[in-house]
Symmetry: C2
Subunit: 659 residues, 2 copies
Amino acid sequence: MSSAEAASVVNKNVHPFDKAQLDTLLTSRFFFAPAFEIYGGVAGLYDYGPPGSALQANILDVWRKHFIIEENMLEVDTTIMTPSAVFETSGHVAKFADWMVKDLVTGEVLRADHLVEAVLEARLKGDKEARGVAEEAAVDEKDAKKKKKKVKSTAVKLDDAVVNVYNTTLAQIDNYTGEELGAIIREHEIKNPDTNNAVSEPVQFNLMFDSMIGPTGKLKGYLRPETAQGHFVNFNRLLGFNNGRLPFASAQIGRSFRNEISPRAGLLRVREFTMAEIEHFVDPENKKHTRFDEIKDIKPKLLPKDVQMQGRTDLVEMTIGEAVEEKIIDNETLGYFVGRIHMFLLQIGIDPERLRFRQHMPNEMAHYAADCWDAEIQSSYGWIECVGCADRSAYDLSVHSKRTGQALVASQALAEPIVTERAVAEYNKKTFGKTFGKDMPAILEVLNKYDDEELMKLKNEIEAGDATVALADGRTFTLNKDLVTVERKTFKQSVREFTPNVIEPSFGIGRILYSLLEHSYWRREQDVARGVLSFPTCVAPTKVLLVPISANTAFLPLIKEISAKLRAAGISARVDDSSATIGKRYSRNDELGTPYGITIDFASVQKNTVTLRERDTTDQRIGRVDEVISVVADLVAGNISWPAACTKLPAYDGVQAVD
Amino acid sequence: MSSAEAASVVNKNVHPFDKAQLDTLLTSRFFFAPAFEIYGGVAGLYDYGPPGSALQANILDVWRKHFIIEENMLEVDTTIMTPSAVFETSGHVAKFADWMVKDLVTGEVLRADHLVEAVLEARLKGDKEARGVAEEAAVDEKDAKKKKKKVKSTAVKLDDAVVNVYNTTLAQIDNYTGEELGAIIREHEIKNPDTNNAVSEPVQFNLMFDSMIGPTGKLKGYLRPETAQGHFVNFNRLLGFNNGRLPFASAQIGRSFRNEISPRAGLLRVREFTMAEIEHFVDPENKKHTRFDEIKDIKPKLLPKDVQMQGRTDLVEMTIGEAVEEKIIDNETLGYFVGRIHMFLLQIGIDPERLRFRQHMPNEMAHYAADCWDAEIQSSYGWIECVGCADRSAYDLSVHSKRTGQALVASQALAEPIVTERAVAEYNKKTFGKTFGKDMPAILEVLNKYDDEELMKLKNEIEAGDATVALADGRTFTLNKDLVTVERKTFKQSVREFTPNVIEPSFGIGRILYSLLEHSYWRREQDVARGVLSFPTCVAPTKVLLVPISANTAFLPLIKEISAKLRAAGISARVDDSSATIGKRYSRNDELGTPYGITIDFASVQKNTVTLRERDTTDQRIGRVDEVISVVADLVAGNISWPAACTKLPAYDGVQAVD
């Protein structure tokens, strides 16, 4: 093994994952922190500091290039504040809600389903303890994922029948109405486990923040819980911008809000978050994708609904091409996006071993959706939905069109006009009126409902001279060719009009960002206290750290020169000229995930050489300033890897440092 | 004049500005449009379509490079939803409000100051008409700027005394309380001009959207009306991230909200908008700036407060260096940002002739502000504030610190410790208690208030044996050296602690974007119907349009090749292969502001040449595909200008087209 190859091998799994240490790192380095901390904070609101903001901006930059620019999507930027009518149409006013109960003594508010789940699971756990049965790991995972109230179990054995009822209840916990949850709470005497007080009947709590637009107090508005409606209401303008052609996609990056009842899972369940959403509008009769071939051989880990409905979670290994072929994924366009999402997540540094695509089961999916796959990423909170990818059929455009009376359709000029022939009846109004008088309208009403077959029968009867028409009251009237003639005519349709279907990939950026932090985090073999965040260079908040070996002013001109050259090359760099030791400064930047460090010492001033350090290996190379900058530029652009860089710059033997 | 020089001379002012035509262009090309238009729209809410989103993204990209990256600012991303306490502290809950009145019959809501202004100005105008005096243009400008209700004047002569009262009232219109506005409305019998109905007493309307955070109904929140508080509450973390050093700046780009009473001025007065804000934290004792020299020779048009207070609006011509020297601009750091803002606005394409920096007059400025300059841009709405640049002193950090009890200070290690000497009294508690008993606390209270001079006098008296202390009740007590000794001691202070001052440049991105649209818009000499948006390349939504001369499939491979090469060079390009004529397609892209067009014809397929068209001159050059791409890359990167490009590519004589 050459030294260059050795340089890229680092065992990142020597030490077990330490969530508490990571949390400390993230707060102390200000990746993010509770918002309004000096005011005591507000649950579910977080601020991103400089490294968190830069990490987010870089993830979004990769997203924009990977999706919007690569596919010429139409980017939009629509308002967060939305009048009530829009969310009445979309169904959010009626249904975007959770059921909550109040502690009857303290007034504490709890999510009803989470309460039932936590208490029944604790009782089942206590039952298992009493029976001496080992608890299943799966329950813990689910518990961690939802970050419910932690309820201590006590070893009490339950009747077998009760165990069955509890298990059945838990399996359906996501499907109960408020009334049903109330009945369950009463039946099983569920109380607030923190206080042992009884709780109220469940009350629906809408998860949208509301406000009043303008001073009249009459125009209610909501903060959007997703950016999607902003695309749909602009559909006609977008279609026009695309010269009337399908398919096309709009895309939007922006803030959305959910007024969670009691958020408790860090960045994974927050009240305000950044989303990136794509609405791909497609002809319902042609969901093929022209670039499907480019992704068809990708093999993401799939968890189809059939597997889940058998109560299993084993992942299926097959290419997207095979999955679409076998109708496991509904269509090519949906499959294409599953592939593109997979590529994107790997590019920013998500561990493919902890990424799966889980298909929605029929009971999870909205009635209108054709198919839906969530990209779930595994972290210490369990498997968490980070990207949804749904085929929403024609639902959204249809409901907005119905409510507003505006047509939201696309049309297709048919290459070959559709030619149809059908029978058409023509009435002689004059003779008809004379013959039938006040019965004319009733007779015409019956005739107008004739289908093609009935009209042809009428034509034949008229020609044979024995045509009659019967009314609902039993009376019949005779018809002849002076009253009505039936002819076959040819019709030509050259344009087809239809409501497009929508394929919607929807990204929760904060959830992806947090998962990436966990996947990037490890600790050095020699020093368990030293955390490192091994971001891929493309998303690293800062690419290069400039470290003068001391505060000597002799280094200033060179620092200025190198900074200017890196800036000109579009590489984000920071200088750390603090008085901490070199080792401390590098440690700090390992925690910030800075992939490269350039050290400036007296040799730099004398010989114009600097050393280049790589974060993961801590390997150091040496070269002239311009050589090193050129290698760094290639590394940051992704043109070369670290082992390749090592073939260009010799290893630093530590001799050159002069001080 | 060479053809290359001629190519860059285009008379853009042949036709007068046509606001209605520009408005039609902006909506039909979907730069922006009223939000929720299919639902009838909501005043003050706008959505950006693809070209508007891209223009905004490019303006923000230039902003980020010009400010954040160039100066290593600390970017943050903080929440929009903010608990009430924060805005109680900042003063927004009490003061961020306008006065409104209601039409007593229709219930229509009007801004009280705008109503008074509109009605009195209409009466003054009617008076002038009656007197046969020409109206001043200035009034019209002001009217346009505020987009008040348009009130028709009728020629009615007023008493001279009434004219004086109206003029005095109008001059102070921004300073009245609600009660005063109510009195003015009653005194001058001001009614709703649309209905001639009386209006209610003014009621204060807070301009922040409010909502409830969480389900308890107890935690009120507001949508931020600016991003600034998010910086201030994180000050300690930011200072820590910057290794405790000053000066540093934080920066944030994000959405803010103002619940305007009746917004009527397009993108200039909206209820939801994108801001970019910088909070530069600086030592109050040192507001010099290390890079001041780089901007000191810039000569922006200045409108200082002294000029305005003489009722004049003539602009002052002087360099920023001179303005700071003469204390017209308060300090170097404030001057530095005025210079940097000026550079930024010119870079994105704002016309320097329609840009001025207006200083706030004392009555406009918050009591705590040291100095404030608004960058105002002139458009068809008048001179509009687009960037504020204020020295907010220590106000923000002080009030948050006071409310939360958290220290928000910086400290400076003093190079030379400050050595002070002062007298210190030491009491012998034992003898003191024995001698004075229950009078001891009262005596000590008096002694503890002694200043240095009084202590030295006491020392001398004790040494002389005639020391006494007098209480407030007139009693005196004798002191001696067994009870108290006074010594001079030396104190060394090596750290200075202080509350940083804040210099705040705050950018309204939508206002800048709209002003830029007006400044970029012109119409071709030959064709008044053809609008062109001459954006600088750096902000143009799309840089290159690819136009195949027809829908012939022979062009597809070349289109794909050129698209891929442009994408690899990071240049945003779009293909227009619609069936419209070449001329129509270029026209459409002139309206979108696309600076370059590449035409692909049969010569392209046969000889690998394409033509390159420049938007403003409509000049066309020809070259091999790779040559043209390389020239376009240089043009887009800003390395060369169009005349320089013309020296590299020969003029296209129109002969090569084969069809």
